[in-house]
């Protein structure tokens, strides 16, 4: 029997505001416990929430980025439950009327084995604003749990998808796309280790062809894409095995244990809280006008899709190259800066996706830490373009630049990599090569095309790689056909 997995994601993105969503306390990560807990954060008697407009702007940006409905009127509601790190005994969230409605994200699912890469649209159900809880720090004080309320009230945008994904690969492609998008539009720093981007994954399985959803289990708080893949794959196998063994799936919240690679039920839905949602009487409904949206629109960066199309049209890049370069705003900016400094677009694209990306990956660096900046890369590419160095020589120069050996021209000089473009000198070399390789010349004349390439190789070798290959080609052809 063939099974199909159905996946939907709920992602908590921490918004990049200066202060909390309902108070003026800082949200900076890593401060001493409870030093960023103002009277509102600790829910003293009598305090009231005031909505941070910057958090609303972030939500509008996200709505615009996924071409979603942005509610002209949305409502903050109280989600009531008791927990020590939830100081008010309720979380202010949005329930019936969220700020962002239906939208969509286009994802690129990479090739896996024989299956080719493909594009897919993931529908967004909603995105709503809410406040984060604090943290319970177990064993903070000897034998006791401590409560750190620095995080309490940190603004979150919870982004919920339709159950549109059909594999771990699709789920991870979506998560990565969303991760990149929220950073691209500047609403989230994307730091998964610090919890700025946390995914809950709803997984269910059903027989292929069925249009009924199976019972889902929710994998909580996945903080890396690797764990997400492992967790979904494990959970999918577990559900299929359970059903094939005649068991039933019960709705539950599960945790992924990275050490064992397994998911384990945390609590079943029967034990779940009745959250007693109701509109928060301390906050007015959130109203967003067309003018608000227009104002935020002017602050929006060019989005990846638009930039990709522009790269194709403006620079003649292939769709694949344009998509790769717009996979992150950092990469796209680097590419654009390289072109702006005078490099040609196609070689710039190749170098950015090739040598630069390979080096960064190997050394686990980000573009911001790249020893070769856009301007340096551009000056290197210019030396290729003006025939000062060959492509091969350029690789050596790049290596030297990466290692901090200096600027392009100085390295070319020091290493003697300057290309020979003097026709007389090249002709002299060719004459020598032709004289020394009479057999090859005969073979060429007998119609063996390969012999020509061998002769080019010999000429390049004789010039110690410095001869301009195009000139070598041209002159050799002239002499052989003369």
């Amino acid at each position: 029997m063939e099974w199909e997995v159905v996946i939907g994601l709920e992602t908590h993105t921490q918004l990049q505001t200066n202060t909390k969503i309902f108070s003026g306390a800082s949200i900076k990560y890593g401060a001493e416990p409870n030093t960023q807990a103002c009277e509102v954060s600790i829910a003293l008697p009598g305090v009231l929430p005031v909505l941070n407009k910057e958090a609303v702007n972030c939500a509008i940006k996200f709505g615009l980025a996924i071409n979603a409905e942005i509610a002209p009127r949305s409502v903050f509601a109280r989600k009531n439950y008791f927990y020590p790190d939830l100081p008010k005994g309720y979380q202010i969230s949005q329930f019936e009327l969220p700020v962002v409605g239906k939208g969509a994200v286009t994802i690129q699912v990479p090739a896996v084995g024989k299956n080719p890469a493909y594009e897919k649209v993931v529908n967004i159900t909603r995105a709503h604003l809410e406040e984060d809880a604090g943290k319970s720090v177990h064993g903070a004080v000897e034998g006791m749990s401590g409560i750190d309320l620095n995080r309490a009230g940190t603004p979150l945008l919870e982004i919920v998808t339709e159950p549109d994904m059909r594999s771990a690969a699709e789920a991870v492609a979506y998560a990565k796309k969303l991760h990149e998008l929220v950073q691209w539009i500047g609403i989230c720093d994307g730091n998964m280790q610090e919890g700025s981007f946390r995914c809950d994954v709803n997984v269910s399985v059903r027989k292929k062809g069925s249009d009924r959803l199976g019972t889902r289990r929710e994998i909580k708080n996945l903080n890396s894409f690797k764990f997400m893949t492992q967790a979904i794959e494990y959970e999918t196998r577990w559900q299929i095995e359970t059903l094939e063994d005649g068991g039933t799936i019960h709705q539950a919240t599960v945790l992924f244990n990275p050490d064992t690679g397994e998911t384990r039920a945390m609590r079943s839905k029967e034990e779940a809280n009745d959250y007693r949602y109701f509109p928060d009487p301390d906050l007015l409904p959130l109203e967003i006008t067309e003018a608000d949206k227009a104002r935020i629109q002017t602050q929006m960066p060019e989005l990846p899709e638009a930039m990709k199309a522009r790269f194709e049209a403006q620079f003649g890049l292939t769709g694949y190259d344009a998509a790769s370069l717009t996979a992150s705003r950092e990469l796209a900016n680097y590419f654009v800066a390289t072109v702006d400094k005078g490099a040609e677009a196609k070689p710039a694209a190749n170098w950015v996706m090739g040598a630069i990306s390979a080096k960064l990956n190997a050394e686990e660096k980000s573009l911001a830490d790249s020893p070769v900046g856009a301007e340096q890369l551009a000056s290197l590419l210019k030396r290729i373009a003006d025939n000062t160095i060959s492509n091969n020589a350029a690789k050596q120069v790049f290596e030297a630049m990466w290692n901090g050996e200096g600027e392009v021209d100085a390295i070319i000089e020091a290493k003697g990599l300057k290309q020979v473009s003097d026709t007389g000198a090249i002709e002299a070399i060719i004459d020598e090569v032709l004289a020394a390789n009479a057999t090859m010349v005969e073979e060429f004349k007998a119609g063996k095309e390969k012999a020509f390439n061998a002769l080019v190789g010999q000429a390049m070798k004789a010039s110690k790689g410095k001869a301009n290959p195009a000139q070598v080609n041209e002159l050799l052809k002239k002499k052989l056909t003369a």
Partner: protein, 499 residues
Amino acid sequence: MTNNNLTNSSLIQLSQMLANKAISSVELTQTFLNRIDALNPAINAYIALDKDKTLAQAKAADVRIAAGNAEPLTGIPIAQKDIFCAKDWQTTCGSKMLANFIAPYDAHVITQFNAAGAVNLGKTNMDEFAMGSSNETSYFGGVKNPWDFDRVPGGSSGGSAAAVAARLCAAATGTDTGGSIRQPASLCGFTGLKPTYGVVSRYGMIAFASSLDQAGPMAKSAEDCALMMNVMAGFDERDSTSLNRVKEDYTRELAKPSSSQPLAGLKIGLPKEYFAQGLDDNVATVIEAAIAEYKKLGAEIVEISLPNTGLSIPVYYVLAPAEASSNLSRYDGVRYGHRAAEYTDLMDMYNKSRAEGFGAEVKRRILIGTYVLSAGYYDAYYLKAQQIRRLIAQDFVEAFKTCDVIMGPAAPSTAFKAGEKVDDPVAMYLQDIYTISTNLAGLPGMSVPAGFSHGLPVGLQIIGNYFDEARMLNVAHQYQQVTDWHTQMPELTMPKDIA
């Protein structure tokens, strides 16, 4: 001037005496403190007194007066309902839950009084978390009605009410969620105003039912209330429901030249539902006499109907407990307030701390509120109540098409005996039958002394349209120019066991 005359003086008189240096703020404050020393042990109007802090404020006020930059309330001793957080003051909200809570910040109302140079005389007793109509739910004990120590002062602002009536302060603050300023004002015989929702910031005022709570003045006269409003009202960006309006002078209408018919042209609406079954006959007689007085002042009487009045109590006892059940969730013993001495685990700590920290009425309302918000009941109770709330507000919109102010009784009876209704919640809830609708609609309401029944005060309620406080204050003020009910005060004789 005798001390009695001093404590019986109006805010304007006191302000003038302070300005003329006829008396210092320290002397005035000490006079009130002495009276509190003598009478409070019997009346129990105050929960917290701190003479050092109070007198320090009085000294600072004297410096300010001497420097010539006094405001009308500079140096005047005001009692603060213990629902307002006041920095470094015990702030209990009448509950064991907060008996040990020292507020680390000032409520907006307190900040306003401090800025005006007023002196905080102490924190007044109240029903626990403002839930009650007799002050009998206070963890700190009941409060005596100064007119009859066997009777309750009303609630929830019972301590402030008794303090104003017994002249244990120059004026006081109160809060009104369903009648908690107006009903005690009626039962204790003074003037109280609940402003339009959103006029006074709720920041730092401990929440009972957020969409209904509103702070207001409790004072001897409409004129005193107007001066208090000038300090209390105003936009506060820390309260999202605070209304951003131009600052008003609430005394502005009072200065109009008087004539024999100063209220000529005023249309007073009398809702027939407010004079129906349930109203004490003697109270009705007093109210009718007051209406007759208004006719003499030139007002015209129109009969109106507020057809959904009967639904106001059931609607209120869905919505207010719903909000309260959530507002009171923060009292969990984790960060401040009462925590059980011994517990086995987290759930046990919550259960014991809340079981010990809250009184019976608070628990009752938390249970009602939790119930009406529960899955499966929300639509039938909470949503339905919200719909009816809009109908009740609409009743007033219709009524104000034919009249300028609405009048009726503030409470269905005079002060009742302590213990009389404490075991019958529904009878207690009916105390607010005439006041709750205005909270549900967000409208301003007043209670003004209008006479006595068997020696106990009766309050006339004046309900105005949104933001019509200045006109309402003048309507009350003109009545107080031709009557003396508001100047009468109880003869305070000590009960034998105290004396």
